[in-house]
């Protein structure tokens, strides 16, 4: 770790540059060579691996670039790692070597543009991670979202996906506008763009209008993470997009949003609730939002009959769990772990869903899964493992994720008021979550009836992807230190103003 000299721009941005170049190459080749379906995914894989390697080098120089725009921290390093690794898994899940004909109406097809957009989106995620001022943050967030608008619209050849894309785009543009306005007001009040400078300003000054930008920023970011009250789009968008795109939506904007909120909350100093008035106000707003998000997400999911809508609203609920960890402030490692685990399990489920063909399109209704357990036991077993992970059953990674998030709440050193009440709300919601997740399993294993659709099981990379997702879920459930002991260092990062460490041996008592 070289702290003496600041890293140069190239060192910090190298993985992002690789991703952007790779994305452009993929776009170009998909225009030039339409026939071969393997080149895009392969190129994407190569790009992701190269970016991963570059990221390792970038982590050797922690610090902020001289002009203060970007900087590498342990947080950015790990966000990049997780983003790239999940991206690799995503490439596997979306890779259909034999593909469909593009002309046939209603057929699902994944083209070169998909992979290019995915690479752009991941580049945006990395940019959010390394950002050190508000402009770069905004740029990164937009870079994450814009390609997803395109991906949703193009993903299926049916009207539903166009409708979903349009809804997503308009609401997303609105949220981006709110976010930009919030950033602008923040700059106007504090006169600074960089996180450290804003934090310093906030320590010593205050302003009666200070609540406004923070509320706007949180509102805009809540759209990204699909939290209340900006969660309304998820149902239609997840349903309208094809499964690999939904899987990407469940991960990319969310983690970008969470990292952004982490940056924003870090500006309040070590203790969100300690800062008088403002911190208290923002903190309580977020507390209520977290509780409501979990509850509303779970309630809405209970009413769905479409698997993808169930996943959509359950993603709202999972956002709620992670929001409680955000309140704690120093639980960044818990959030990263939970996010990684959630992404992998979601990828597994959407991967299985994308393999089932119904009338040239995807099978989406819960009842369509009837008989899967008897017809394709391997796939159904993978589905079961991923679903149990999302419920939070022990011996899967999902349990560890929930354990870490809820432990962060219980920790005496946390500043969250009424944390026990939030904990109980979270626990009860976890139990409610089991209800609708079990419906997926009920449909696949318990319902009588034969499986009516075909499963496209010649797609080796997708099978590999699903298998990998399942194995990692179980592995992380039994040996979480593989990932967690490494992420833990994020909280110790010196660059982040947050000094409270989750598992610091504090001697404070109630």
């Amino acid at each position: 770790m070289n702290l003496i000299e600041n890293p140069t721009l190239i060192q910090v941005m190298l993985p992002i540059i690789i991703l952007l170049c790779g994305a452009m190459v993929v776009v170009l080749q998909s225009v030039i060579k339409e026939g071969c379906r393997c080149v895009s995914p392969l190129l994407s894989l190569v790009t992701l691996v190269l970016a991963l390697m570059a990221n390792q080098c970038a982590s050797k120089h922690l610090g902020v670039v001289d002009d203060g725009s970007v900087g590498t921290t342990l947080l950015s390093y790990w966000v990049a790692n997780i983003g790239l690794l999940v991206g690799i898994l995503l490439v596997f899940i979306s890779w259909r070597p034999d593909g469909f004909g593009e002309d046939e109406p209603g057929k699902v097809y994944i083209t070169g543009e998909f992979f290019a957009m995915m690479l752009f989106s991941i580049a945006g995620l990395l940019l959010v991670g390394v950002s050190n001022n508000l402009i770069i943050l905004f740029l990164g967030l937009e870079l994450v979202s814009m390609p997803t608008y395109i991906m949703v619209t193009l993903s299926r050849n049916v009207f539903q996906s166009k409708e979903a894309g349009l809804k997503y785009f308009f609401l997303g543009a609105l949220a981006a506008g709110i976010l930009a306005y919030g950033f602008a007001i923040l700059y106007g009040i504090t006169g600074a763009l960089e996180y450290d400078q804003i934090a310093t300003w906030m320590q010593s000054n205050t302003s009666p209008y200070f609540v406004v930008p923070f509320l706007l920023i949180i509102a805009g970011l809540c759209y990204k993470i699909a939290a209340l009250p900006m969660h309304f789009y998820v149902g239609d968008v997840y349903q309208g997009a094809s499964s690999p795109v939904s899987a990407l939506l469940a991960f990319m904007p969310k983690i970008a949003g969470f990292v952004s909120i982490t940056f924003i909350f870090n500006m309040f100093g070590t203790d969100l609730f300690a800062m008088a008035d403002l911190g208290h106000y923002i903190g309580w707003t977020f507390w209520i939002l977290a509780a409501l998000t979990m509850t509303v997400g779970n309630t809405l999911a209970l009413m769905q009959t479409n698997t993808k809508r169930v996943m959509a609203y359950s993603s709202v609920a999972h956002t709620g769990y992670m929001m409680t960890a955000l309140l704690v402030g120093a639980a960044t490692d818990a959030i990263l772990f939970y996010m990684a685990v959630y992404a992998i399990a979601t990828l597994g489920i959407f991967g299985v869903l994308s393999l089932i063909e119904k009338d040239g399109d995807e099978a989406q209704q819960l009842m369509d899964l009837r008989g899967l357990g008897r017809a394709y036991p391997g796939l159904a077993a993978a589905l079961a493992v991923c679903v149990f992970s999302l419920i939070g059953m022990p011996l899967t990674a999902g349990f560890i994720g929930k354990l870490l998030v809820f432990s962060a709440l219980v920790n005496d050193a946390t500043p969250v008021p009424c944390n026990m009440i939030l904990l109980v709300i979270g626990l009860i919601n976890a139990a409610i979550g089991a209800c609708y997740y079990l419906r997926i399993l009920k449909a696949s294993f318990i319902e009588e009836g034969d499986f009516q659709f075909t499963v496209y099981n010649k797609s080796k990379p997708q099978i590999i992807g699903i298998t990998l997702a399942t194995l990692v879920t179980i592995a992380l459930g039994v040996m979480p230190t593989m990932l967690y002991s490494k992420i833990e260092t994020t909280a110790h990062s010196e660059k982040s103003p947050t000094a409270v460490v989750l598992f610091d041996r504090l001697s404070s008592t109630d």
Binding site: S407, D412, L423, I428, A431, R505
Partner: protein
């Protein structure tokens, strides 16, 4: 194949028993038999297994019942057998893990994990109402379980803040957690109570049980009644009582009342069931009321009797479900109205049925009597409960005799009545009476029933040390807290017992 693995596990557990006895029956977790791998050191949890006198018999019970249940399934599970046996083995792993864990997190993990194979077993191979049964048991148990999880986390963090931040999930270490003199203990107790009480099941949280027992396949019912219910009582014994003795002391009368209500209610409900399996299911509710009563007597006879009761109930109710399963395999009905006088055609089955019914009732000479008697004496002598509780509990014996004899009378004696057996293609043709495999399954259980009934020393000698130590821990801690409460008269503390004693 699964039978081999399962039996091998049982063999291993017998080896463990020998090793345990050979090392001298100590009260601590036998150091030579512990096994630790680091799991999640950041939060102080490690994968630690250990055995002491209390866990020993429960592990043996688990590893005895599962191979027998698997063996019995050979004749009743026709669809997707490999998945089924895989799930049964997973369940065995989960249950053994619960009893062997000395780390609180792993205890909870195995505790919840058993729900996964249970849900699938009941849901896929169950009876007519299997979906509702599977959902209800999963959601109900998990809902309680997550509250327990919250309570466990709170215990660990309270302990950590008292020991200067050293996080540990080790159960023995957590015994020393001090919750202060206020109502925190009560809240934590209620949180833990939520999960364990649903599992036991304690009235009024028992509604999932009759449904689950009835709709589960035979082996599922055997495992459920035989072992899974003991997870709840074991949780009370191992975790709730030692860590929260004062709250247990205060709430003991309440819990004893609930147990007694469950005892009487379960017995009366069992008496009127038209379905044999549901009758035995309600009898489980009733019997475990006695078990819970024993746990809250706060003397070591109570704890010892309660543990023995767990074992006995596992054996006898497990055997009863096995027999009912064997009858079902032949006649495909469980209704009283359709079965009767089976002794004429199935004398061996009749013999075993009466034998295990008597064991369940508590006939002297069989195992049930020993455990019930010890619990009654303990309740009578208890400082927390008292003679009145014992009185009501003893009446439960009469009630259990009523419904058990009712069951035997209608099912075994009387005019012969059975539905026409329609042989489908591919069915095993079962002999009229029990085949050698079937009474081979029941024989080990019968031997154990007799052995524990006539020579209970084999149980008491191995468990007394551990029980005494546990009891001492509980009583000492409780007395210490009560002393501290008395000393803090200046600060008003809202504890009912305290106020009467200060006066």
């Amino acid at each position: 194949m699964a039978l081999l693995i399962s039996t091998a596990t049982f063999g291993l557990s017998l080896v463990m028993l020998k090793q345990f006895i050979a090392n001298g029956v100590t009260s601590d977790f036998d150091k030579a038999l512990t096994y630790t791998i680091s799991f999640l050191p950041q939060i102080g949890s490690s994968f630690t297994l250990g055995i002491d006198g209390i866990s020993l018999w429960l592990v043996l019970l688990t590893n005895l019942l599962t191979p027998l249940a698997i063996w019995q399934s050979f004749s009743s599970i026709k669809i997707q057998p490999r998945t089924y046996y895989g799930l049964m083995l997973l369940m065995q792993m989960g249950m053994t893990g619960v009893f062997l864990s000395t780390d609180l997190l792993w205890f909870y993990m195995f505790f919840e994990f058993t729900l996964v194979p249970l849900f699938l077993v009941v849901g896929i191979w169950g009876g007519a109402n299997k979906i509702q049964a599977a959902f209800k048991l999963f959601i109900y148990t998990m809902a309680g379980g997550v509250l327990t999880f919250g309570g466990l986390l709170f215990i660990v963090w309270t302990h950590a803040s008292q020991t200067g931040g050293a996080l540990t999930f080790d159960i023995q270490t957590l015994y020393a957690t001090d919750f202060g003199l206020g109502n925190t203990q009560i809240w934590v107790f209620l949180a833990l109570f939520a999960g364990f009480a649903v599992k036991v099941p304690l009235f009024p949280f028992h509604t999932w049980l009759p449904l689950a027992h009835t709709e589960a396949p035979t082996a599922g019912s055997v495992i459920l009644a035989g072992v899974l219910l003991k997870l709840g009582t074991y949780g009370f014994l191992r975790i709730v009582l030692p860590i929260l003795p004062e709250a247990s002391d205060q709430l003991a009368p309440l819990i004893a009342m609930l147990s007694l209500v469950g005892l009487v209610y379960g017995a009366l409900a069992a008496w009127v069931q038209p379905d044999i399996k549901k009758l035995v299911a309600y009898s489980s509710v009733s019997h475990l009321g006695v078990c819970m009563l024993g746990l809250f007597t706060f003397n070591s006879e109570g704890l010892s009797g309660s543990l023995l009761y767990m074992i006995n109930h596992g054996i006898s109710t497990g055997a009863l479900f096995l027999i009912i399963g064997m009858v079902y395999d032949r006649y495909h009905t469980r209704a009283f109205s359709e079965l009767g006088g089976l002794a004429k055609k199935m004398p061996i089955m009749a013999f075993f049925m009466i034998f295990f019914s008597m064991s369940s009732v508590g006939l002297p000479g069989l195992n049930g009597f020993i455990s019930e008697f010890v619990i009654f004496v303990a309740t009578f002598n208890s400082t927390v409960l008292g003679p009145w509780y014992a009185l009501i509990a003893v009446s439960g014996v009469i009630l259990s005799a009523i419904y058990m004899l009712y069951l035997c009378q209608h099912m075994i004696f009387g005019p012969f009545k059975a539905p026409e057996v329609v042989h489908h293609e591919g069915d095993d043709v079962l002999p009229e009476d029990l085949s050698p495999r079937e009474w081979g399954i029941l024989l080990p259980l019968a031997i154990l029933v007799l052995a524990l009934g006539i020579y209970p020393k084999i149980y008491f000698s191995t468990t007394n040390a551990a029980i005494d130590q546990l009891n001492t821990t509980i009583i000492v801690k409780r007395d210490a807290i009560q002393e501290a409460i008395k000393k803090s008269e200046a600060t008003p503390v809202v504890l009912n017992r305290n106020i009467t004693e200060i006066k």
